[in-house]
């Protein structure tokens, strides 16, 4: 293999690891670890398998059809279905843009102790400038690689000198610990799935593949990125759960802020560790702000048939660019209302979970279509994993809102 190709592989995989974590993961993983230990680590494993399966499938479809996910949903299941999906996806992704932007501001607040609301407009301006100035791939690689600093959570697990038997015992007991109820446990199953299998990742992934003009020769690189990068991203998520378990579980501390997500790293590794964790949080949330923002533009442009894309000059895709800028403005305004970004994140990931089947179904249908896909149609493994994931997502979708209400968003 040529060194340049090897570098592209490595960079892509590292970007996938760093890009896996966003504000939903940061909050949900720490919250879950503090309350349930590793009793929900299996959900992360399940989510990684599910999202890797559908990301691989949607990239394969894009390589074959040169059309992204939302375009396919509309042509396969009709404009009515696609419109309902568009409205739902826009509402959830819009909330996530606000949550991610607030995450960037919260990371800056932790570094400076200046209130996060003062950082929100600064973060929004930075996003706007970078979107305007940097090429797509450079943007993706920078935040992906910086996001790798999140591996400090894995190092922190070691430094906290855990009782490995207790960690293993918690991870292999998929049930609520003493003092917790089954409805609350199941609510956090939904929350974790919503945080780790996000529809925007699919839209972004497939639209990015169109933008980068992926062809059959890129399939191996894409598969390596997905099959190595996502599981390692999942490992990061489990490490966040583990440090929260080790520091907070016995003390009965409930995680309610991003500050509490990074506190265990400080306790384990000191100021340097904390600083590295904050760089990771900044990069992860900044990258996710870009991804969610682009996803809203892609969703609108692909439904209405506008020209779109980061690779085109803004004037060539004026409606796409305007929709992105408007969403950023709206998200900034929403964040400045002082609404709690952590609450918004939890609600957004739960509603995101309800939308999963609407995103997965058309991808699975097209992936199975021999006429469209030819040699790149789903094999048995893809079909089996895709069908199981779809079945789980339907159950999650049906249970999400009742569990949200029954447990008052996991508080009781």
């Amino acid at each position: 293999m040529k060194p340049s190709k090897l570098l592209a592989f490595t960079l892509g995989t590292l970007s996938a690891i760093g890009g896996f974590i966003d504000i939903g993961d940061l909050v949900a993983d720490a919250l879950v670890g503090a309350r349930f230990g590793l009793a929900l680590a299996w959900v992360t494993v399940l989510s990684v398998v599910g999202i890797a399966c559908y990301a691989e499938m949607s990239a394969r479809i894009t390589v074959q059809t040169r059309r992204p996910a939302f375009d396919l949903i509309r042509s396969r299941l009709g404009p009515g279905y696609a419109l309902a999906g568009l409205l739902g996806a826009l509402a959830v992704t819009g909330l996530l843009v606000m949550a991610e932007l607030s995450g960037v501001a919260l990371a800056l607040q932790l570094a400076t102790s200046v209130h996060y609301l003062l950082w929100v407009p600064v973060a929004a301006a930075l996003v706007l400038v970078l979107v305007w100035v940097l090429p797509f791939e450079t943007m993706e690689r920078i935040y992906g690689l910086l996001g790798l600093t999140m591996l400090v959570f894995v190092v922190a697990v070691w430094h906290l000198i855990p009782d490995w038997f207790r960690l293993w015992s918690s991870a292999t007991t998929p049930a609520p610990p003493a003092g917790e109820t089954w409805p609350a446990y199941l609510f956090f199953v939904v929350t974790l799935i919503g945080a780790q299998m996000t529809p925007y990742e699919m839209f972004f992934f497939s639209s990015g593949a169109v933008e980068s003009r992926w062809g059959p020769k890129d399939l191996t690189e894409m598969r390596v990125n997905v099959l190595v990068g996502f599981p390692l991203g999942g490992l990061l998520a489990i490490a966040i759960q583990a440090v929260a378990f080790l520091v907070f579980f016995d003390a009965g501390i409930q995680v309610e802020h991003l500050s509490e997500t990074v506190l265990p790293v400080g306790l384990a590794l000191g100021k340097i560790g904390l600083a590295i964790a904050l760089i990771g949080v900044f990069a992860a949330t900044f990258g996710a702000t870009l991804e969610t923002l682009f996803s809203t533009g892609y969703q609108l442009a692909q439904y209405f048939g506008w020209s779109y894309g980061k690779v085109q000059p803004p004037a060539q895709a004026a409606r796409f660019t305007t929709s992105i800028a408007s969403m950023l403005l709206l998200a900034t305004a929403l964040a400045l209302t002082t609404i709690n970004p952590i609450t918004v994140t939890i609600v957004a990931v739960v509603f995101s979970a309800t939308l999963l089947p609407f995103t997965f179904l058309p991808v699975l249908l097209v992936g199975n279509d021999q006429q469209v896909m030819g040699d790149l149609a789903n094999g048995r493994l893809s079909n089996a994993l895709g069908t199981i994931t779809l079945g789980i997502s339907i159950l999650v979708s049906l249970a999400a809102v009742p569990l949200l209400v029954l447990t008052r968003a996991g508080t009781s």
Partner: protein, 153 residues
């Protein structure tokens, strides 16, 4: 088409009503007691997380900036948790429980405010002493939580 629109509106209304129901105040003694227990647990958690930040800052494990934010978060949460509980009318037989929980909430908020002010004034030498003051409050909340759970007051 009209049917679909109606179904969508009905679904949206259902979700809105469900979310409203989730915010409803407790309407029975049993529910009030359960909310009291959750409130006490949350406040104990807030006291303990502030103690973690204070001890970590005193030991030089975290930056003062991050510790200040952690303490402000804990104080804000304690105030909000206590105020939410205080806003619910208690059943006639549980007025005393309300007083006890809100008193503990007020004491915790005051203690955290003192810590926050000391941090803003840069009086970091005082903070390990302040962390010591939070410990008895956390113990008091733990004991209150146990009594509420066991049905006594």
């Amino acid at each position: 088409m009209t049917r679909r629109v109606l179904a969508l509106v009905a679904a949206a209304l259902l979700v809105a009503l469900a979310l409203w129901y989730g915010q409803a105040p407790p309407r029975s003694s049993e529910m009030y007691r359960k909310r009291a227990e959750e409130t006490v647990q949350a406040m104990r958690s807030q006291a303990q997380v502030a103690t973690f930040w204070l001890r970590a800052a005193s030991a030089g494990r975290v930056t003062r900036e991050a510790a200040t934010v952690g303490i402000e978060d804990a104080e804000g949460d304690a105030g909000a948790t206590s105020a939410e509980f205080a806003g619910w009318d208690p059943p006639a037989d549980l007025v005393g429980l309300r007083d006890e929980v809100t008193d503990a909430g007020d004491d915790l908020t005051d203690a955290l405010a003192d810590v926050r002010i000391a941090a803003h004034h840069g009086q970091w030498g005082r903070l390990s002493e302040a962390a010591g003051q939070l410990d008895p409050l956390a113990d008091r909340l733990a004991s209150l939580g146990t009594r509420v759970r066991e049905g006594g007051r």
